[in-house]
């Protein structure tokens, strides 16, 4: 009987402990500075109608979702920035919420689903529609200082907007610009100071570059355009369509396939059939090949240089940038890419603290430091137009002015999935060898399903 009683007690304990294990853990995945003073109860008490630029007199804790603190090359900068912010703002505690790049959006959404919404998120511009659709993102003007909002370039603010309302501010921006290898140009008998400006010029240069091999006999690819199945590849392909004056979505968010779109898809096929473009590559694959001298030109965000440099520290000696190519009847318009700060709908005290953090991140000192020590890019603030570090950047000089030629992308909630469909289209005309019209017809059917 004793054994039976013991067994019953053990079974009950097992059930109880299992049930208990499902609760709590709201701050799982949260790392960063320890809570210095703020407690939830006090936070609730401190709910005041503070304007975005109000003084923070009560202790307040805000949560900042940032995948970059997990990435080598970015971690030191971000941790140092937050330490400096904490020293200047002792009443504000910033808790970092971290997850790898591919998981941060779901992490933030899951937290919000459990009633724990972050205050600020650093990520891609294309994540804005997801955050807005989820009802998490707050209009930037409701949170951030009016001075900051007025200082962001209107065209950049427009790129962050849905129905005329901006839901984030970019920390820095870049179009998909053309990086090229000056040494390979020289080796092919081309002028390293005269990169192509149109797709026609690029196709004229490509055979000479594709005829090269590396010192260890490896093939050199002439031109890299990412087509692997990841959303950022879809953004790059959209940029390529814009190069040709084409569109993917009209202003209402409906499919708007035009001649520019068709011309771009035909170019992807040409690049593949000529063997110029490494098949089915992600951006990181292209950076790898470029760093190793196996790729002569490719499209990337300006901060892609960081990836190139991490593989080949001497890359700065041969890399140069150029404006996006013009094709067909297009004029080389591109797509804006941005490291974007998205603000969320929390109480006023937290919004005020968040505004202070965003002001700090976007201060001239910190942005200059970022461009100098982390990676090159273009500022999003008009007051930083003459930023010395950008003017001095030999790397960005070739693509100067290309930020002004970006064409906004219509934000729809399923933009990431649509980007994956664009990758499938590119793979259909390249790897599957389908003709352009058939592949576009298939894309139209599947994309219509995604946009629904």
């Amino acid at each position: 009987m004793k054994k039976q009683t013991l067994a019953l007690v053990m079974a009950a304990i097992m059930g109880l402990t299992t049930a208990c294990s499902g609760s709590g853990g709201q701050t799982q995945g949260t790392t960063g500075a320890p809570a210095q003073a703020a407690e939830p109860a006090k936070e609730a008490e401190s709910e005041t109608k503070a304007p975005a630029d109000a003084e923070i007199t009560e202790p307040v804790t805000i949560k900042f979702a940032n995948y970059a603190v997990l990435e080598a090359g970015y971690d030191v900068y971000w941790n140092q920035l937050l330490e400096e912010f904490a020293a200047e703002n002792p009443n504000i505690t910033v808790e970092l919420v971290t997850a790898p790049y591919g998981e941060i959006v779901n992490t933030v959404i899951n937290m919000a689903g459990g009633g724990d919404m972050v205050d600020l998120m650093y990520g891609e511009l294309d994540w804005i529609p997801t955050m807005v659709e989820a009802g998490m993102a707050a209009p930037a003007a409701d949170v951030l200082s009016s001075e900051l909002m007025a200082d962001i370039y209107p065209s950049i603010l427009e790129a962050c907007s849905i129905d005329g309302v901006a839901y984030g501010v970019p920390m820095y921006v870049s179009p998909f610009l053309l990086y090229y290898n000056k040494d390979l140009f020289e080796k092919a008998g081309l002028d390293p100071e005269a990169p192509p400006t149109t797709y026609e010029e690029m196709l004229e240069m490509a055979p000479k570059l594709a005829a090269l091999t590396t010192e260890d006999g490896n093939k050199v690819y002439a031109f890299g355009l990412t087509t692997a199945s990841v959303p950022v590849s879809g953004a790059c392909l959209t940029s390529s369509i814009h190069n040709f004056g084409g569109t993917v979505l009209d202003a209402e968010g409906s499919l708007a396939i035009d001649q520019g779109f068709r011309d771009a898809v035909a170019m992807w096929k040409t690049l593949h059939e000529s063997g110029y473009n490494p098949e089915n590559s992600k951006l990181k694959d292209l950076r790898n090949l470029f760093a190793l001298g196996q790729l002569a030109m490719y499209y990337d965000q300006s901060w892609g240089f960081n990836g190139v440099k991490s593989i080949n520290p001497d890359a700065a000696d041969f890399i140069a940038s150029a404006a996006p190519l013009a094709g067909g009847s297009g004029s080389g318009e591109s797509v804006l890419q941005a490291g974007t700060l998205m603000v969320m709908n929390n109480d006023d005290a937290r919004k005020a603290a968040t505004a202070k953090l965003v002001d700090f991140i976007l201060s001239e000192d910190k942005i200059s430091e970022y461009f100098e020590t982390v990676t090159p890019a273009y500022p999003s603030r008009q007051s930083m137009e003459e930023l010395q570090v950008v003017k001095d950047s030999a790397l960005l000089a070739g693509a100067a002015g290309s930020v002004g030629k970006v064409k906004p992308v219509t934000f729809i909630p399923t933009l990431s999935d649509l980007n994956l469909e664009l990758c499938t289209l590119a793979q259909a005309v390249t790897l599957s060898g389908k003709d352009v019209d058939t592949a576009i017809a298939e894309f139209e059917a599947s994309a219509a399903n995604v946009i629904q």
């Binding site: 039976q4 019953l8 079974a11 009802g135 098949e279 399923t414 793979q427």
Partner: protein, 309 residues
């Protein structure tokens, strides 16, 4: 009548207490199963009929009935049939190859050759490696410009094939993932089969040998029937494991190229977590679950006479 009338024997107090005791012991497991498995499954099935997105979770608002909209979208898109076909081909290929290769390895390891104990211990390494890491390792080996596979194909083809990229060809991408899945899963299959083989009666085998049965006959008529219950469990586990295989696909191809590796797992993830349409993702999951139930049911019917001992 041909049937014996059943006589109800009254339960003794001890039997009644034993039943209550057994029920009490089972209760935590039943509760856990209901709360953590049955309720979420039912919830998912219900949500598959609703317009239910992330904003519903965050705002705490219930989804709205959408007149089978998720299923209509799924069946009219043409993607479901493709995903079902890829899933079934992948499961069949991996399970069959895994069983054959696992059995060959198990027979070798169960023989008297030297170092079998050592091989058994190191053989488990791939199984211990997390699936995502396995995917990344195989991606490096398959890398089209400097991967090991490209190098080997170049050597064995006498330099004729210089641009072999298994994951970039829609005709071979599924094979590439199948190989990675086999590398990861064969060790466990082998281990389970070895444990079965060690229990095959040596007396029976010896008697069969004396009666003149050769190795093949001993294997077919004694070894296989003796370990049938182990085989049933092993193959069931392999079917379920590969039906729900997601990390290898997402890491290695993301469902590409040109949808050649889009399985139900990928389709479900894209609907639920890329498009953030949880209702639509639940519809894929429901179809996926029904398909798995059918396959496991058919499998169990085929093996219905196998005694579990």
């Amino acid at each position: 009548m041909g049937k014996h009338a059943q006589v109800r024997v009254p339960m003794t107090a001890r039997e009644r207490n034993d039943r209550i005791f057994a029920g009490a012991l089972l209760l935590p497991s039943v509760l856990i199963t209901v709360i953590f498995i049955l309720v979420p499954v039912a919830d998912s099935v219900i949500k598959s009929f609703l317009d239910f997105k992330v904003k519903n979770i965050i705002s705490g608002t219930p989804g709205s009935w959408n007149h089978f909209g998720n299923y209509i979208k799924l069946f009219s898109s043409g993607r479901l049939g493709m995903a079902v076909a890829h899933t079934l081909v992948f499961v069949a290929a991996v399970v069959i190859a895994q069983f054959i290769l696992g059995m060959i390895l198990a027979l070798i390891l169960n023989s008297d050759i030297r170092f079998t104990r050592f091989v058994r211990s190191i053989m488990m390494a791939p199984w211990v490696v997390p699936t995502i890491i396995s995917g990344l390792i195989w991606m490096w080996m398959y890398q089209p410009q400097y991967g090991l596979l490209k190098y080997l194909v170049g050597i064995f083809s006498g330099g004729k094939m210089t641009d072999f990229a298994i994951l970039n060809d829609p005709n071979t991408a599924l094979l590439g993932i199948t190989i990675a899945a086999l590398w990861k899963q064969i060790p466990l299959t082998t281990l389970l089969l070895v444990s079965g083989l060690t229990n095959v009666s040596a007396d029976l085998l010896e008697a069969a040998t004396i009666d003149g049965a050769n190795g093949v006959k001993r294997f077919v008529y004694i070894t296989i029937p003796s370990i049938m219950s182990v085989i049933k469990i092993t193959v069931s586990m392999a079917i379920i494991e590969n039906f729900k295989q997601f990390p290898l696909f997402w890491t290695m191809t993301g469902g590409g190229p040109d949808n050649a590796t889009t399985t139900l797992a990928i389709l479900s993830y894209r609907e639920a977590f890329v498009s953030n349409n949880l209702g639509s993702g639940a519809a894929v999951t429901t179809v996926w679950m029904l398909l798995m139930i059918v396959v496991v049911f058919v499998y169990n019917r085929v093996f219905k006479d196998v005694e579990m001992n």
